[in-house]
Each structure stands twice: as C-alpha cells, then as structure tokens.
Amino acid sequence: MGLKQENILLALDNVSLAFGGLQAVEQVSFGVAPGAVKAVIGPNGAGKTTLFNLMTGFLTPQAGRIVFAGEEIQGRPAHRIARRGIARTFQLVQLFDHMTVLENVMVGRHRLSHSGLLAGALQFPWTRREEKEIRAKAMEALEFVGLADRARQSAAALPLGLKRMLEIARALASAPTLLLLDEPASGLDAVETERLQDLILELRRQGLTTLLVEHDMGLTMEVADEIAVLNYGKLIADGPPRAIQKNPEVIAAYLGTDWQT
C-alpha cells in the first residue's frame, strides 16, 4: 500500500513513540485522502489518542514523519499545526467553562482573525468589523450543530451530548482542512449518536476530510470510507469497512466474532 503523495492530505510514515519501555505507537504508516472520512479503531490502550496527539503537536514522535498538505509537521508546536488547518476535539471534552457557548466557538475563529491586544483594548473600527465577522461565523457554526438557541448560556451548564456538539462547532469554526474527532460518540445516548452520525455525513457531503477515533462500531461502519486498526501501537489493518470486518487478525484483536457476516 504505497502512499501516493499527490492524493493524500495527511500521511503518517513510520511514526513511532515510546513512553519509557512502553511502545505506544510503533512504525505506523497510513494516509488520509482529501474528502474522505477515515476511522482509527482498536482496543483501549492501542495508541489511538497518542496518534492524535502526535498529529496535532501535543506529542513529538521519536521516529518517522507526519506530512500534512505536503509539509512535515511532526514536532511542531500545537498552535502552529492548528493554524495550518488541523482542528481537533478531545476524548474528555475540553470546553472553556467560564465562557458562553458562543464565546467558545468564537475562540475557534482565532486562527482566521488578527486583532491583537492593543486593538482589542482600543476597539479600532476594523477591530469592530472583524469582531462582527467572528460573531457571525461562530453563530453559523452553532446553527450547523443545532446550538444557536443556547448561544448565550454558559458552556459549563450544557449536558454532555451538547458539549460534544459544541466542541465540534468550535473546531468547525476554524474552517479546518482536516478535522480530528477523538471518540465523539463516547457518553452519548442512541439519539445523540444518530445526530452525530448525520453531522459527520453532512460534513463529508460538504467535502471535509475527517479522521476519527471511535469505539462505537455501528457509527464507524456507517460513516467511514476507510478504517485503520491499531493494536498494541501497531497498525494491523487498513482498508474499507467491508475488508476490515472480514480481516481475521482484526476480529481476533478487537471486533469479536459478532462482526462476521
């Protein structure tokens, strides 16, 4: 499975990271094609979240390369990678609890706006204009996930399902080229999971490239164009959902016999 650079938005090339003696990620290589929804699955502790942290600059790989839109990004500071257009959500939702729902999403516009500290204090006409635009775009993102009517509420007061939606809205407000969702369905009930599924499919229709780590196999099989399977830090399979479901190694490691069709 060679990586054709021109048709790959994000490519991992032999990425490795060990914590002490624990090999968290071992020589993992895979690619994400533009416009595709790719899922990374695997048992707990397989290295999925570590992989996300490597891609977003929260961890630095000890070996290997991570190429995003033609540029090596491994080891760069998280905010630099974010500015290049990778947005993410967190396994444990990380909202700005002392801010309103709308303000949370407005921070998502950070990378696309410019007003500095002094401009903020002095409120130049162009600062106000930019602020208006930030607000409008943030409201758009809130409307997209169905949270517009809660814009003025405190983010901390939302129930978990809506917090996850808010986190996605915040990531979307940054108009990312690549969206990383870290277990977006965990803690959601059936109805909420369905809404999440619709949301991911709608984003795919709009052409957004998405990579998600997920435990909910139903959701994964519905939304993913491709699935990569990790086990003990190693990539054991990578391909379309149907092939993954039939892969004996994956079944042994993770899926269990229920998934054989």
């Binding site: 977003t56 600059g57 929260f58 500071p77 998280a78 905010h79 974010a82 500015r83 947005a87 993410r88 967190f90 990380q94 909202l95 700005f96 609890d97 002392h98 801010m99 309103t100 303000e103 407005m106 921070v107 998502g108 516009r109 950070h110 990378r111 706006s113 410019h114 007003s115 500095g116 500290l117 401009a119 903020g120 204090a121 002095l122 409120q123 600062t127 930019e130 602020e131 930030i134 915040r170 990531a171 940054s174």
Partner: protein, 322 residues
C-alpha cells in the same frame, strides 16, 4: 461576560466622578480617592493576569516600584519632563516584565508564584541598596508634580480629576480587551491550555503579552503615585504590598473589571477606618482573604449577588442545584 447595559455603567462612572469633583471640598477625601484610583489601576492590571489569564504574580509591587522610581529619578535627579519620564517608566517596566516573563511564564502555579515573588524581592533589595540612584531606604524626594498646558496637578482635587480620568480610560480599555479576540484567547488559555493551543492560540506568547500588559498598568500607577506624593521610598513596594494587591483582586472578584474597583476601594478605605488595629493590618488582610476565599470565592460583587439569588430562590421554595 459583558455586563448588561454596558454603556450606562460608563455614564454612571463619569457622572459620579464629576459630581464628586463639583461638590466635595475636603482634601482628605480626595487624597483617599486618589489612592483608591491608583490601587485600582494596579488591581485591574493584576486581575487581567490573575483573574482572566490565570497566571499568578506575587511580585507585582516591583513593577509599581519600577514605574515610580523611573519617574522619580528621571524627574527629580535628571530634570526630565514628567510625562516623558512616565513613558520611560512604562518602557523600563515593560522590558523587565518581558525579560522576567520569558523564563518565569514557562512555570505554572506555585512555581510561577515563587519566581515572581523572587523578582519582587530582588527589585525591593535594589531599591534599598542602590542609594546613589534611589536614595536608599530613606527614599527619594523632590519629585515634581505633573502638569498639563500650564495646569499643575499639585492639589488633591486636581490630582483626583487626573487620576480618575486616566482610570476611567484604563477601565474602559480593559473591559474592551476582555471581550475582544485576544481577551477571549486569554480567558481560553486559563480554562484549557490544550484546547486553546488546538485552536491556534500561542499560549506562551499570549501569557507573556498579558504579563507585560499587566506590568504596564502597574508602572503607570507607580508614576502617578510618585507625582502624587512627590516622594517615594522602597517600603511602599515590598512583598506585603504585592500580597495586598492579590487580596484586592480576590476580594473584588477574579475576572471582574468593576470588582477591581470595589476590591481596591474596600481595602484602601478599611485601614483608614481601622487605624486602631494598625499593627495588625496584615493579620486582618489575611483573615479577609481567607473568609472571602471560603465564603465568597467569586469575590464580593458576584458573591453577594449569588447570595441574594439563592435567598430569593429559597423563599420561592425552590432548591439550589449546581
């Protein structure tokens, strides 16, 4: 959080300042108001750093001192124009904050507290020991008053107008800032550094920026202080004053611009009312800090509002749920 009917508060502020200036004629009260104004400048700056960005500084008196002494030395010893000296003070304090901030702001929590505390003590020692420059422990006198277009700010009433007009502008700027793009990023890094980074916020650089910005407020306050008293001595810029400033922030309410005014006001007036307890001033301050932290962790303004809210709720037979 934007206060409701935002503009009216500023109108109220301006009217109150004007009414006081028109009708009050006891110098003692003006002097007290001048200190409240200067303290509020310091507290708003520290609140931006501590309350909004979540970064502690236990050495903020040092920036106050740097501003005061730069103004004092340049005007009294070198004969520089006071306004120019004030700007020089801003440059000195800003540069000091920048240089200290680079290593210190890589630290978190207690460690940052310790680093800034150390800086504060170093500045305090320098002010005491560099007699040739600072006049040593006995202080620096002969600092001229500020003047503008021939009008000297040399009476408490005139100073009051100057200080409170400047304070009004600074309060407005601060309120603008916290609701701007950068202000939101500052609050965001307080709530979740990783999440802020993941949205493109350079958290370290932003901490450094707000640290310097906060030091500029302190420096401005220091220069005004030097030209108000026409005299400065190191004892005003020690560790205890840094702690006093933190107490004012906490009492007024973390992350509250108007709370800063209340916190600074209360703890400036209180010692005047409690002159009997003068020797125990620090004990009383410590006690206030403890009581507020335990019973009103959101500060006086919000704490009292919360209390009223829950009272009303109880009367209506409801239950408070958090």
């Amino acid at each position: 959080m934007t206060p409701p009917r935002f503009l009216n508060r500023w109108l109220l502020f301006a009217v109150a300042v004007g009414v006081i200036a028109a009708f009050m004629d006891q110098d003692y009260y003006y002097t007290l108001l001048n200190f409240i104004g200067i303290h509020t400048l310091l507290v708003v700056g520290l609140n931006l750093l501590l309350g909004y960005a979540g970064q502690i500084s236990l050495g903020h008196a040092a920036f106050f001192g740097l501003g005061a002494y730069t103004s004092g030395i340049l005007t009294a010893t070198c004969g520089v124009d006071p306004w120019l000296a004030l700007v020089a003070g801003l440059a000195v304090s800003g540069l000091a904050a920048f240089l200290i901030g680079i290593p210190a702001l890589k630290l978190r929590g207690y460690y940052l507290g310790m680093a800034t505390l150390g800086f504060g003590i170093i500045i305090y020692i320098i002010l005491n020991e560099a007699d040739g420059l600072t006049g040593g422990p006995s202080g620096l006198s002969g600092i001229p008053s500020l003047s503008l277009a021939g009008l000297a700010f040399n009476t408490p009433r005139r100073l009051y107008l100057l200080i409170w007009i400047i304070l009004g502008i600074i309060l407005a700027m601060s309120a603008n800032l916290v609701n701007s793009r950068t202000g939101r990023a500052i609050r965001a890094l307080h709530d979740g550094e990783a999440a802020a980074e993941s949205l493109g916020v350079d958290t370290f650089r932003l901490k450094l920026k707000i640290f310097v910005w906060s030091a500029l407020y302190a420096s401005l306050a220091g220069s005004l202080y030097a030209h108000t008293l026409n005299f400065v001595a190191p004892s005003s810029f020690g560790f205890m004053f840094s702690i006093k400033l933190v107490t004012m922030v906490v009492l007024g309410g973390m992350a509250s611009i108007w709370g800063s005014l209340l916190g600074a006001g209360t703890l400036t007036v209180l010692p005047e009312l409690l002159t009997v307890f003068h020797d125990f001033e620090m004990v009383i301050f410590g006690a206030i800090l403890m009581v507020v932290m335990i019973f009103l962790p959101r500060g006086l303004v919000r704490g009292i509002l919360d209390l009223c809210e829950s009272r009303r709720y109880k009367r209506q037979g409801g239950r408070i749920s958090f």
